[in-house]
Structures are given as C-alpha cells and as structure tokens.
Assembly symmetry: C2
Homo-oligomer: 318 residues x 2
DNA sequence: CTACGTGCACAACCTCTGGTTGTACGAAAC
DNA sequence: GTTTCGTACAACCAGAGGTTGTGCACGTAG
C-alpha cells in the first residue's frame, strides 16, 4: 500500500473531486486518477463512484476513510518520534524486567497525554552521554558509579530502592525458607545471564558478591530467548538461583513450583535514580519528575544494604 | 515515507542483520541496505549502527521501532477494513446527529474488542440493498417504509423510540414554554436543512407536517458547514425552529441563549430499528443485537405519535 | 436541441525510483 | 596470516509513476 496514494485518497474524499485534490497536492488530475485507481486495484474494491460532477465515496470508501486517516496519523507520529525538537519524551530504562519499567508504565497510565518513547542503552556512561547529546530526555540509573561523579549539567534524584529477592526451584536448599539473610548466600552460585560487564548493574552485583561471598554467573542462554528459558532451568536445578525484584513482572510458568524468597537483615536494595539534563526544557520531563516524586516510597529503610558507591554521602544532593 | 522501507526496517531490527531480513522479504541484501539508507535519509537520523557482525539499533532506531510497528498495524487494519470476508462490523447510521450514533458509540465502549466501521447511505432502500449485497452488516432505520414491506431475508427489531424536541432561539414564540403539544405547531415553519427527499426521514417529517399542520423547510446551508451554522441562524430568528432529539450530541454554542422544548400529548417519536441480513454470520452482529436489546428502553409509551407506516400492525414481527 | 463547460479516464511518452548483479572493504573467527 | 561473514558502493536495467494530450459522459445555458 502506497502512503501517497492513501494521502491522495483522503484529499479526494475531503474535497469531493479529483481536480481540487490534484491542486492541493500540486500534481495533475490524471496523476490523482492514477493513484486512486492503483489504490483501488491494490485493495480490490472501488472507493469512489465517478459522478459527472466530481466523485462520491462508496460504502467501502466510507469504511476505509477513517482507517486511511489513522494510517496517515501513524505515519506522522512515527516521523515525529525521531524528529529533533518537539518529539515524544524519550526515556531510557535498563530492561523490561526491572521495576523502573513499572514506574514508567504507571506514569504512562497517569498521564496518557504525554507521548513516551522507551529505549535501552548499554551502561550508565552511554546513558549520560546520550543525556548530554540530547538523544534521550531521562534515564533510570544508579547514580554514583564507582570512581566516577556526575557531570555538572546532569541532575539526579533517587526514586526507588528496589529490594532484591532470591528466585529458586523447589529442589534448592533455600526452597523452604520464608526468608534468608545475605550472609547465607556465602558460597552460593547466583545466575544472572546477560549481565554485561561495564554496566552499573555489573558493578552492583560484583560488590554484592564480594561482600557476602557468593559468586555471580553471567554465562547462560542469551536474553534474546526470553526469561522463560531461565526460569525453566532454575526450576529444575538444585543449586542455581537468581535475583529478581518484588516488582518484576513475571509470566509465572504453569506446572512449575517456583519460589521467591525475600532477603532480610539487611535487605539488599538496588538504588534507582532518575537522571536528566539540567537544561532540558521538555514539558513531559517535569511531569515525569513530579509523578515519580509523588509516588516514591520506601527509600532509605534502616535494614537495607547498598554498594558503597551508592550510599548517601555528606554534601551530596538529595 | 515508504511502507516497504518501514517493513524492511522492522524485519532488520527483529533479525539483527540485513542478510536475514533480505531472505525473509525475498529480496537481496543490497536492496535492504538501500531501503534502510533511504528511510534514514528520509527521517534524517541514523537507525542502525553498522557492526561487522550485523547491525544494532541506535537510540533513534529504538524509539522509531514501536511507531514503525504501529504504522504497519494501521496499514493492516486499513486493508482489512475493505477486505471481503472477516472484516470489521460495518454499520450504517443516518448521521452523527441522531441517537442511533450514540447507541453505536455505547456499544463500542462496551465491546471495544469488536472493530466497527461506520458508514452512511442515502435512504433505507439503498441500505437494504447494501444489506442484501453484503457491503454492510447492519443498519439503523425506520423499518416499514410507506407502501413497501421488508424483503424476506432482512430481519428487523425496534431498538429505540427517539422523542422529538423543538429547538428555538430566545426570540421565538415558544421560547418561554416548558413544553408544547404538536397541535401548537400548526402554521409554524420547521427548518430541517439537508433532509433529502426519498429517504425515510423525509417521509417521517412529511407525515408529521401533514398531521399537525406545520411546514418543513429543507432549504438552507449545506450540512457540510456543520450544525453550528444552523444553530447560529436559529438563535437569531423569532420564527425559525428545528427538531432535535434529547440525545443529540450538541456542542452548545457559547454566548447564545438557546431553548430545547419537549413535545407532549402526544410526543412524536422517531422509531429506530436495527436491520440485518438473516444469513449474515458476522459474530459482532449478534453481539450488537444483544447489546441493543439489553439497553433498549422507552419503547411504545402511551402518549407517543408515530407515522401510520410505523405503527405496530397485527401479524408483524416484533 | 444544440453548444459548451466541467471533470474523469485512457494513451503515449519520459524520467527517475528501486530493484538486480558484481565487487570492495572491515572486522571477527580460526 | 587466511577464511568467513556481513555491509556498502557502483553499474546497470525494468517498470512505477509522473507528465501532456485527448476522448467521453453528463449537466446546463442559450
């Protein structure tokens, strides 16, 4: 289907005659006739009844018209999504499995008027570069990277401490526990496939592993195969486990007996912050900040653990 | 924007490499490269980073991808809207100003899973022909036309008696009345522009005028100019009035003092029925019938007037 | 009734888009 | 190193899609 033909069809339907549509589109009447004829041949139905004084829509034409408008609107939105300036709010989240994606979905439900584009970048460095370059408007990241401070023009605010939970199959040693402590993880193998080194996630799990004496295993099936493969493997294993969050949206596999075990004393939390460029004037950005600040809860409980580089420091902004 | 290029972009994004996308689309890799390059040139941004082992989406590519999918989906829906067989439920309503459009909108809200296409035909005869030809699935009409009975394969059920109300400006003689009787309309001029002769609407108003001694004036501004022109004229006139329904969706013009006066003893009602072809197997059609029957109310009150050809007759199906 | 105006369709022609094949190049894999 | 894989560029060719010119049907004015 040719979008120019669809555009021509809409113009002709609006004006009621090919001549005027041709003038609007700055082509000849014959070209309009050809385009419409081609569209009709493509669809296999007649869209207009040719009258001596212009054209009138057939029943099929009437049914097609709103869909044609929707199609052109979708084209416009698609083009706008990459147009520099006055485009939808573009937010970077690490993945769909983590809680920040849920925060963003809540925001979208609360403010459906604000168009969102969700992207995923590799690592906090790339995200901050993209913020400064203006290719993204905001990112959910763990702010303070090890040995690295934020650039002056990047602002950040903590929005969520995500408690980690252990996910195991029924044969695992911890399967019967109602909760465990991180100290109990010593010597355990935790499976986090797709946890690329160099990202702040990798840094988080590295310090977690070093502090509590467990090992993180990043090898495994590609994340492209989806989370189901991972869940299946864990369900059948007596030694493998993985970290998930309470808020991870899961399609619970039927027929498996899987356990989600809270961690206590302390609860390791992943500290999500929202980062943005101080000079970004996008109106949706302010709305997103306001929404997240209004909705945030559970920040900085007493019995939590976080990596040293993410602990509150004197002189650091909220 | 070329939809083939968009389709190619989505295929390449899904497979992660141009070669495989080319195989899927049954074109050469070079053609894929060309199409993507053309799309990038059209949008003014780079969609892929060319890696030695395939391609990866850029930030702009990630943002564009969901819009591209939506665009292709819109194309598919548009094509399906005119595809004979397995298309959306196509319903004919007389116009957006009448109550049946509201019924259909209610149905759409109750069953958003059923795709609707709304069309408008000229006259009940054309609508019944279209039902028999299969170009529409259902129509809202006043069933029994003067001197004409329904074909055997067309079924009908009354769904709504729409009470008529008189619409006047503040200077009109009836402007202060809380209600009037149809007998009081004798000698009045009622303005119904766009009421084409030959339709069942015209037959209705003809008999209404003949019964109560008023005159129907069909000349006036084209309905293309919208209802606002009509309202403005009526607001400024001391003699003009028009019929509207209680359920007519109105954008009440600000700054005007307009009156909507009920008619009593008897209340003229317009008897809407749903008509469909007995052999039409469309699943949405049954859903529409069920919805309308569950929602119908106010049928056949005592103090109503309807044209002779629409009065309940012995032996006529409900 | 005839002459004319209006508006769409068809024919001939031409341009330039968009496909093909062939090839070069760069980065991983071995 | 050599091979393999995947992309981009060049040259070429067919046809899609534009143009101008013309015919035809119908409504309208004189």
């Amino acid at each position: 289907m040719d979008l120019n033909a669809v555009r021509t069809f809409v113009a002709a339907a609006d004006s009621g005659q090919f001549q005027e549509a041709a003038a609007d589109l700055e082509i000849t009447q014959q070209a309009v006739s050809k385009r419409v004829a081609a569209l009709e041949a493509d669809l296999g139905v007649r869209l207009f009844t040719r009258a001596p004084r212009g054209v009138r829509l057939t029943v099929d034409g009437q049914a097609f018209l709103p869909h044609a408008r929707a199609l052109l609107q979708a084209e416009e939105r698609a083009a706008a999504s990459v147009r520099p300036g006055s485009r939808a709010l573009r937010v970077d989240v690490v993945g769909r499995r983590v809680a920040t994606a849920g925060l963003l979905r809540d925001f979208h439900r609360a403010r459906p008027d604000i168009d969102l584009d969700v992207v995923t970048l590799f690592g906090a460095d790339a995200a901050i570069d993209a913020l400064q370059a203006g290719t993204i408007d905001a990112t959910f990241r763990a702010v303070t990277m090890p040995g690295r401070r934020l650039p002056a023009d990047i602002e950040a605010v903590p929005v969520l401490d995500e408690p980690m939970m252990l996910f195991t199959g029924p044969a695992h040693a911890f399967a019967g526990a109602r909760s465990i402590t991180p100290a109990q993880l010593a010597g355990q193998r935790i499976w986090m496939p797709g946890n690329e080194p160099g990202t702040e996630w990798a840094a988080y799990y590295d310090e977690l592993a070093a502090t509590f004496g467990c090992t993180i295993d990043v090898l495994g099936p590609s994340p492209h195969f989806g989370i189901e493969t991972l869940l299946d493997t864990i369900a059948d294993s007596s030694t493998l486990a993985t970290f998930l969050s309470e808020r991870t949206p899961l399609v619970w596999p039927a027929g498996h007996d899987l356990r989600l075990i809270p961690l206590r004393d302390p609860t390791p939390v992943y500290p999500h912050s929202l980062l943005w460029h101080a000079d970004n004037p996008h109106p949706g950005l302010a709305a997103l900040r306001d929404h997240l600040l209004a909705a945030r809860n559970g920040l900085g409980g007493a019995e939590t653990w976080r990596p040293t580089w993410a602990r509150p420091q004197p002189g650091k902004r909220s």
